[in-house]
Each structure stands twice: as C-alpha cells, then as structure tokens.
C-alpha cells in the first residue's frame, strides 16, 4: 500500500442470508430443489457440495432456520455429546469432508448418522468436494456417506456470476451499474472465489481513491491485479 492510499478498515460485510436473497440458476437449482424437497428425501442424510463461496453456507443457514437444525463445525462435533445432538432431530455439519476424514471425528459422525436414522432425524453435510473424494478411512462411515444422495453446486454460469457480484456489492453497501458487472463477468475466472476477489479489489480501489465504481475503474483494478499475478 502506498502512502496516498486511504487506510481501509477490513470490516466484514454483513451478509443477508434468507431464502429470498438466494439467486437460483442452473448451477445451483438442483441443490435448492433437494433442500426444498426436505423432508421428502430418499434417506435421512444429504450431502451438499460446491466450491468455496458457492453459497453452501447460505443454503445451510436457510435450511437450519427452516428445520430448527443445529449447525455444527467439525470442532463442535468433537466436543458434543452425540446422543444429545441426535435428540435434536436435525443437524447440519459444515466442512463435513475433512471431518469425515479425520480420525477423531469419523466415529462421532458415524454414530450421529446412525442415531439420527434410528430416531427419524435428518443430517445435512456440506463440503467442497463430493463424498466420493473425502478421505474417509472408517469403512462403515464411508459406505453410508456414499449411499446418501449428494448434490453439487456447479461453477457459476454468467448469470449467476453477475448476480453473485451484485449481491456482494450490495452486502458492502455499494451501488454498481450493470455495465460494470458484465465487464467483470467476462473477464474473471468463472468461480465464486474469483468473483469475491474482484469485488473486494474494486471496492478497495474505489474507497481508497474515493472514486465511484465505473468500468474505467474496473479496468484499472483488473490491470493492477494482472500485474500482481
């Protein structure tokens, strides 16, 4: 950062996470449909996978609100009493891939899976990769996970990419025109992470230079990024 740049505080943007804030396109329609279909699932568990930033957390949040489910991180799973968790009836686990693959968490997860099944509860697992690619060494758990339906969120299509960036700007209380969004969408990698980086970059450039976000500014920010690559 050079001296003329304005200091920017890295405040996390406040995200809106309701169902109505979620744009449905071809990339995520299947995932949304599976969650909407709950509790009419073919089994009691469902795996949701998709790249970073693809909206898994958003969907998880929404599903938990719908079902009064407890949302857990792998660390919380280790600390929890599995029978008490199962008694809640619905549980969502974030980062389920690493959890299922870890020595310590695999057994509690297996027991949670079994207990929820026995008691007519539900389990939603979210991860970046489909279960087939999780490194699960406990065979009982592995076969259960592979038998559960898995639904993926695909890399975003252009429409979603534009919408995602629009939402990211809105979460930052920034207003941008559609021309800026389509400018960005045709130039960045087709991923949620790239969209996030581009938005952050542009927001910072705009704040530090006290300039509105326009196509020329976007061009400048992208050029700076390419140089850095």
């Amino acid at each position: 950062m050079n001296m003329t740049d304005q200091m920017i505080l890295d405040l996390p943007a406040r995200k809106t996470q309701g169902r109505a804030d979620f744009l449905i396109t071809d990339s995520n329609a299947d995932a949304v449909a599976w969650l909407d279909r709950w509790p009419d699932w073919p089994g009691h568990a469902l795996c949701l996978y998709g790249p970073e930033g693809s909206g898994k957390s958003h969907l998880l949040h929404w599903w938990c609100a719908q079902t009064n489910a407890r949302r857990l991180t792998p660390a919380q799973l280790l600390d929890a009493d599995v029978t008490e968790l199962a008694a809640l009836g619905a549980v969502a686990l974030d980062n389920a891939g690493p959890a299922a693959g870890s020595k310590a968490a695999a057994e509690p997860l297996l027991h949670l899976y079994n207990l929820l099944r026995e008691q007519g509860g539900y389990l939603l697992l979210a991860a970046r990769q489909p279960p087939r690619q999780w490194q699960v060494s406990l065979p009982d758990l592995r076969s259960r996970l592979l038998a559960a339906p898995a639904v993926g969120i695909q890399a975003p299509d252009d429409r979603l990419l534009v919408a995602v960036m629009a939402k990211m700007f809105a979460d930052r209380q920034v207003r941008v025109g559609p021309n800026v969004l389509s400018y960005l969408a045709t130039r960045i990698e087709r991923s949620f992470a790239a969209a996030e980086t581009a938005v952050m970059k542009l927001d910072r450039t705009s704040l530090s230079g006290r300039r509105p976000i326009t196509v020329p500014l976007a061009r400048m920010a992208m050029a700076a990024e390419e140089k850095n690559d």
Partner: protein, 461 residues
C-alpha cells in the same frame, strides 16, 4: 364420544390437507395420531420428538383453530411422542407417489414383546429389513440359511451365530429379519437387538445412574440377544467385561446369541483374547462381496417394492456393473436416481443416470484443461493441434477452433481473456463470439450438436 372426537379429527385433517397441500400434509400431519380429548385439551401423538416440535411450531395454531371450529370446547392442542409399540412407519404405505419416500424413516417399532426397560435399551428395528426382502445369492446364501435357522427354531443349534463381512452387505438386514420373524412367530420370546455402540452407551449410563443391576437383568433375561458391529467394542474394558458376563450367562441358559462384525472373530484386535475365542465357538459365517447377478437381483427386487413404473433394464445393468462396492451404496444410487428423476421431472435413461450420479461414478475430481480440450477437438476433427493457435481462418480449422473455445468456456472456469490467450493470443471478444456462434449452431446443426456432446462426454470421462 370417542367416535365423535375421532370424526372431528378426520375433518380437521381434511381442512389441514386442503390448506397446506398434499406434500406437507403427508410429511407432517398424516403421521399424527389422535388420542383423546380431555378438559378442552386435544391430545395427539407424533412418532418423533422432532416431528412433534415441528408440527407444533408450524401447524399447531391452525390445528387448534380448525378444531375449535368443530368443537368450541377444544382450547388447546397437546402432542406427545408415542412409544411406537403399535404403529407402522409414518404414512409409509401412503407415500408411494414419490417412489422412494417409503424408504425414508425406519419404523419406530421395537419388538413389542419387550418390556418397557428393554424397549429403551434396544435399537429400533427397520421394517424394510425382513427375510422376504433379502435377496439371496451365492455370496450370502450361507448367512441367510443360518439366520433363518435361528429365526425358525426355538432350540439353539449353534451359539453364537457370528456373521461377518464388509460394510453394507446385509448383516444388519439379517439380524433385523431374525427379530421380526421371531416376533411374528412367537411374540412371547424376548428378542433384544442393539448396536455395540448402543450397548456401550447404555452400560456407561447404567454405571453413572447406579443402575447396573437393572442393566444386567434386562440383557440377561433375553431369549435372543443380537449385537451388531462388535468391532466398535474398542478397548473399553469394562464394557467388554460386562458383555462377556452377559454372553456367558445367556449361553449357560441356552439362549441364542447373534453377533455381527466387519471381520472374523480372530481379527477383532481390540477385543480381549478370551472373548475373541469365545465368539468363534458357534457358527461363524462370512458374507462375501456381491457378484453382478446378485446386484442386479437386488436392484430388481428393490424396484418392485418401490413401485416405480418403467425402468430401463439398461440402466439397472449399468448400475449393477458400475457400483460394485456394496449393497448399501448400490441401493443408495438407485434411490438417488429415482429421487432425481422426480425432482427434475425427467424420465430415467442412461444419460441422465450418468449425469445424476456423476460424483459417484467418477473416481477423481480431475479438472479438464484447455490443452486437453484442444487436443481432443483437434483429433476429433482431424486437424493439427497447431491450428488451435494459428491465425488461419479457413472454415475447416476455424470451426473446430470455435468448438474448442466453446468447450473451454463450458468445461473449465477459465476467464475469457485467459481462454483467448491459450488460443494464440486472441482477444476475449473473439472467444465470446465463438461461444455465441456455437451456441446458435448447436440449435440448427444436429451433426455439430452430436459432435459436441460426444467430445464433452469424452472430456468429462
């Protein structure tokens, strides 16, 4: 009077159904059971606590309002969780319209002959797991015969029956089937089925609550004790000790014991030597991996039960051929496929199967690269790879190049400028034009559309 109340409940149900729709009604409201009306309080029962809470928070107010419209004296609704001794799975038979939904919830029925304490101790039995739903093949016929023998005869022929095999091959199915069968044939006999983890948990709780005497009494009064997955008895010495005593006492009384594990008794490293050898005294039966015929048979049997209409035999063969790991995963794949077809409203065919089960069928998450796309497309159209980067604009090379750009846009996440760079330093607008052009041509040129589908399948593997 009760008749009258039951009639009121029927009418409340009808109104709930028309207000919330069939799906919500079938999922949440149909499983409720009317119990009684008592001092202005309508008592209902739900199969699980979760279901009770859900119904109360989402439908409670409407149920109350509808009921009050029927009968002014009803002021409150109370839902209890019923013990589940005399009721089948929630709406099981009624939910065939979604094909697989009947597979959803295991029946909360435990062998009803068990006294209440045993009821709490045992695990729930799944009503789908019966002998007539078990498909027999070469790999499991011995285990099946042994399980039938245990279920059919009151005298003990071998003790214990030790079933072992890889995960998802039907051990639990056979144990549940034994319990169901005995319960039907001879309800007076006490059957306790539970998982090893549940046994451990119950024992630890009994220790904590100083109820070990009661614990011992329950298990030692069983006529048939079945413990599933004993490989989870890991190094917890006091539990193993307790298990061993129970085991010996039941054997002494000539009561039947059935044990399952994922490995043979001698391979249970975490189990004490004396217990291991004791487990191997009776009949030890191995369930082997399935073969193609058995897998196909299992799928066919499952389809017949699920009441799914037309199902292409080719797809069944494909599943039986590709998903070889175990029965659980095989059935899981079939469930997924049927649910997916309902969800997207498309008939099941081979292509849709590959798409829906993509994550399961593909061994690794190999990402397609632009270089691969260029190579495959060049081969397919019989042009030189160098032409992907060249400035030549002859149609014979320009079109395949556009196809490759189009595929690069679809199958990779690369940005348009980067795709342009990989095609001989072209501008991103050139890539955009190519994508648009191919999208248009796909609509009108069937041959090209086929070429693209083929390339896509080859690249995605």
């Amino acid at each position: 009077m009760d008749q009258e109340y039951a009639g009121q409940w029927q009418r409340v149900c009808t109104r709930l159904r028309s207000e919330f729709g069939d799906a919500a009604y079938n999922s949440w409201l149909r499983p409720l059971m009317f119990e009684r009306i008592d001092e202005g309080m309508a008592h209902l029962q739900a199969p699980t606590r979760f279901m009770r809470d859900w119904v109360l928070s989402h439908y409670g107010e409407r149920i109350r309002a509808f009921w009050q419209a029927e009968d002014k004296t009803v002021r409150e609704i109370k839902i209890a969780v019923h013990s589940g001794a005399d009721r089948a799975a929630p709406g099981a038979a009624d939910r065939n319209d979604t094909g697989v939904a009947t597979d959803n919830t295991p029946t909360p029925v435990r062998a009803a002959a068990l006294e209440s304490r045993a009821l709490r101790m045992g695990s729930a039995l799944d009503s789908r797991y019966q002998f007539d739903s078990f498909v027999v093949g070469r790999s499991n016929e011995l285990a099946y015969a042994a399980a039938r023998r245990v279920a059919d005869t009151a005298s003990v022929n071998f003790n214990p029956l030790f079933l072992y095999g890889g995960v998802g091959l039907g051990k639990t199915h056979l144990m549940h089937a034994i319990a169901w069968h005995i319960h039907e044939r001879d309800p007076g006999r006490e059957v306790i089925y539970l998982s090893a983890e549940r046994f451990m948990y119950q024992f630890v709780r009994a220790l904590r609550d100083r109820e070990t005497m009661a614990f011992k009494q329950v298990f030692r009064s069983a006529d048939v004790l079945m413990i599933d997955d004993v490989q989870f008895f890991s190094r917890k010495d006091s539990t193993q000790e307790e298990f061993f005593h129970t085991f010996n006492e039941l054997v002494d009384q000539n009561k039947q014991i059935v044990i399952s594990a994922d490995r043979s008794p001698s391979d249970l490293e975490d189990v004490e030597e004396r217990i291991r050898s004791r487990l191997g005294w009776g009949l030890v039966v191995d369930i082997h991996q399935t073969d193609f015929e058995l897998r196909l048979g299992i799928l066919e049997a499952k389809l017949a039960r699920a009441n799914v209409g037309d199902f292409p035999p080719k797809v069944l063969e494909f599943l039986a051929h590709r998903i070889t790991s175990n029965v659980r995963e095989l059935e899981g794949a079939l469930n997924r496929l049927i649910a997916h077809s309902h969800l997207v409203g498309r008939p099941i065919n081979l292509e849709m199967t590959q798409e829906a089960l993509q994550d399961l069928l593909r061994a690794n998450d190999r990402r397609v690269t632009i270089e691969e796309i260029q190579k495959k497309v060049a081969q397919h159209f019989n042009i030189r790879l160098a032409d992907m980067h060249s400035a030549r604009r002859a149609r014979a090379v320009a079109r395949p190049r556009q196809v490759a750009m189009y595929l690069a846009k679809q199958l990779t996440t690369r940005s348009l400028p980067e795709i342009g760079r990989k095609f001989g330093g072209r501008d991103h607008t050139t890539v955009m034009h190519a994508v648009k052009r191919i999208e248009e041509l796909r609509q009108t040129d069937a041959t090209l559309a086929e070429d693209i589908d083929l390339l896509r399948r080859m690249l995605e593997g």
